[in-house]
């Protein structure tokens, strides 16, 4: 009898060992990040960069490739830091987990529509900005009565879970707006196409990317009246020594025309153009 108990326990222990030997699957086939969380900055063979996986036009996982403006900028900057494209390990960094991923060292830097804010600066560092977006609205192509956040009174508005953009509209522009939160932009967009919500809100460049996906082409439009200023920065761990080098790379990218090329390549066919008064931006001095 005793033998059987120990047998069972041994089985459990063996199972645990076998399990810990197999690592997690990174959706998309990239190698899993986070296992060697203590890898320091610089000098390593690879660099782990956090991006969005679910934003067409900015950061999108397409099979085993990654596409979008953030990805292009990150690739350019990484090259200037001495990492070729195949030395980059892409890691998904959802909005709610970005600070945490930098703090825990799960990623070395983040290019994920990451707005520079004072609250975030308290816990992490930013390089950049490399782009200035603005919060805007996505509506059906034939919609004429939604012209800005004030015209959303009594309308249904969708945003992604964990973003504060929709709440901001309710608080500051239209108290009578109905808010819906879904875990992904695709769900918001399908509700918009189906006519169940009247608008989707987030930054204009993200909306442009959503409008440009093949399934939605011609059905949706960005209103084009941005009502906030979102300065996309490169998220870095606090007291990182890479900020200066990244800012130099960003300046170079803007000067040699690459920036222009990345923007137009990723927003092609949407009719979207970046706000010229603010773009291209000048990187801020490092902390």
């Amino acid at each position: 009898m005793r033998k059987r108990t120990t047998g069972l326990l041994a089985l459990a222990a063996t199972a645990a060992l076998t399990l810990s030997a197999c690592s997690g699957a990174e959706v998309g086939g990239g190698s899993a990040g986070g296992d060697d969380a203590t890898a320091g900055t610089g000098g390593g063979d690879t660099i782990r960069i956090g991006i969005k996986y679910d934003q067409p036009g900015l950061g999108l996982q397409d099979g085993n490739e990654y596409k979008g403006f953030d990805v292009d900028v990150a690739t350019y900057v990484a090259e200037k830091l001495g990492y070729s494209a195949d030395q980059i390990t892409w890691v998904e960094s959802p909005s709610a987990q970005r600070e945490q991923m930098l703090q825990t060292g799960a990623v070395d830097m983040i290019f994920a529509t990451y707005s520079i804010t004072d609250a975030r600066k308290e816990v992490i560092d930013f390089a950049g900005p490399y782009f200035i977006a603005g919060q805007d609205l996505l509506v059906a192509a034939d919609n004429t009565d939604i012209t800005g956040p004030e015209s959303l009174e009594g309308k249904n508005l969708c945003s992604v879970t964990g973003s504060t953009s929709a709440q901001k509209i309710k608080d500051e522009y239209a108290a009578g707006v109905n808010l819906l939160e879904r875990p992904g932009y695709a769900e918001c967009v399908s509700a918009l196409v189906a006519g169940q919500v009247d608008a989707v809100t987030t930054d204009d460049i993200i909306l442009a990317g959503l409008a440009a996906t093949p399934q939605n082409q011609g059905k949706l439009k960005v209103v084009g009246a941005p009502f906030s200023e979102e300065r996309y920065g490169v998220g870095l761990p606090k007291d990182s020594d890479r900020c200066e080098a990244i800012n130099e790379a960003i300046t170079e990218m803007i000067d040699d025309g690459s920036w222009e090329e990345f923007v137009s390549k990723n927003t092609e066919g949407t009719g979207y153009s970046a706000n010229d008064e603010l773009n291209p931006p000048t990187p801020e001095a490092c902390a």
């Binding site: 108990t5 459990a12 199972a15 399990l19 998309g28 996986y53 999108l60 060292g105 799960a106």
Partner: protein, 297 residues
């Protein structure tokens, strides 16, 4: 009780009525199905352009299979952890020492009462903010820990009731041959109880697998989440969700089937009664064992 005693074998008229009933039922079901398909068709949701990217090789290779691997990985770690947790605290509740019994009861009852989703949300933030160097992947760890604490508590109850369900003679025999109470528990009662509860543990695996889908809500790249990523590029969230749902159903159905098979096979290897769990919350076996369910004890 067999249900067949509730009615006679139908006569000719009865059979005709049943045929009419069956046909009517089929018509209603088919009618609803037709309406659903019609509306989906009108909205273009049956378009091959939406279904192909949800089903092609690319979807499987880069989204479903990696997602499934993450789901199974979380579920596997959680199951092993839950079994260990369950045996430790189940034995704790049967301990000779009042303090150990009391402590084990508090732990088990607490984690059985707290929703798994709340635990996941809490541990995700906790690990992310306060255990930076220790925990590499906070979402994964939070999913596993939450699943271990809840399902481990359920298994602890299974262990306790499994021992309680054994014939009294088993414990008495152990004591008679000079074993202490602890020895009797460890070498006579527990092994039989473990075998008796194995099918229920496999059923609990269904709960683990289903609950692991909650990880999506805290950003763990499980099957549901990787489906969302696939859908964001292809613009077909509904089609992808249906594929994901089918995957979950098939997987869980297989597990339930294994549990059923085990219950039949193992009954000869224990003096207890092998029972499958219902696949939700605390198992039926808990209440049948005479141990009050749910609340404090």
């Amino acid at each position: 009780m067999s249900s067949s005693v509730l009615f006679d074998a139908p006569g000719p008229r009865g059979r005709r009525n049943m045929m009419v009933g069956n046909a009517l039922g089929a018509v209603v079901v088919l009618g609803i199905l037709a309406w659903v398909l019609l509306v989906l068709h009108q909205r273009g949701q049956l378009a091959p352009d939406l279904w192909r990217p949800a089903l092609d090789a690319r979807a499987w290779e880069f989204y479903y299979l990696p997602g499934l691997q993450n789901t199974l990985r979380a579920a596997a770690f959680a199951t092993v952890g839950a079994v260990v947790f369950g045996i430790v605290f189940g034995m704790g509740r049967l301990s000779e020492f009042r303090v150990v019994r009391w402590l084990s009861s508090v732990v088990v009852e607490f984690f059985r009462a707290v929703p798994v989703l709340l635990m996941m949300v809490f541990f995700n933030v906790l690990f992310g903010m306060f255990f930076r160097g220790v925990v590499a992947d906070s979402a994964f760890t939070a999913v596993v820990v939450a699943l271990v604490l809840y399902n481990g508590s359920v298994i602890a109850e299974l262990v306790r009731s499994g021992v309680g369900n054994l014939p009294k003679g088993q414990g008495e025999a152990g004591l008679t041959i000079g074993l202490t109470r602890g020895q009797t528990l460890r070498s006579v009662q527990l092994p039989q109880a473990l075998i008796a509860m194995l099918p229920a543990v496999v059923s609990q695996l269904v709960v683990v697998l289903k609950d692991s889908a909650l990880g999506q809500l805290i950003g763990y790249a499980d099957l549901l989440r990787s489906g969302q990523i696939l859908a964001s590029g292809a613009g077909n969230p509904l089609q992808v969700l249906i594929v994901v749902a089918v995957l979950f159903i098939v997987l869980n159905y297989l597990l339930s089937w294994v549990a059923h098979l085990l219950a039949g096979r193992l009954s000869s290897r224990t003096s207890g009664k092998t029972e499958e769990g219902p696949g939700i919350g605390p198992s039926l076996a808990v209440t049948r064992g005479g141990a009050p369910s749910g609340g404090g004890h």
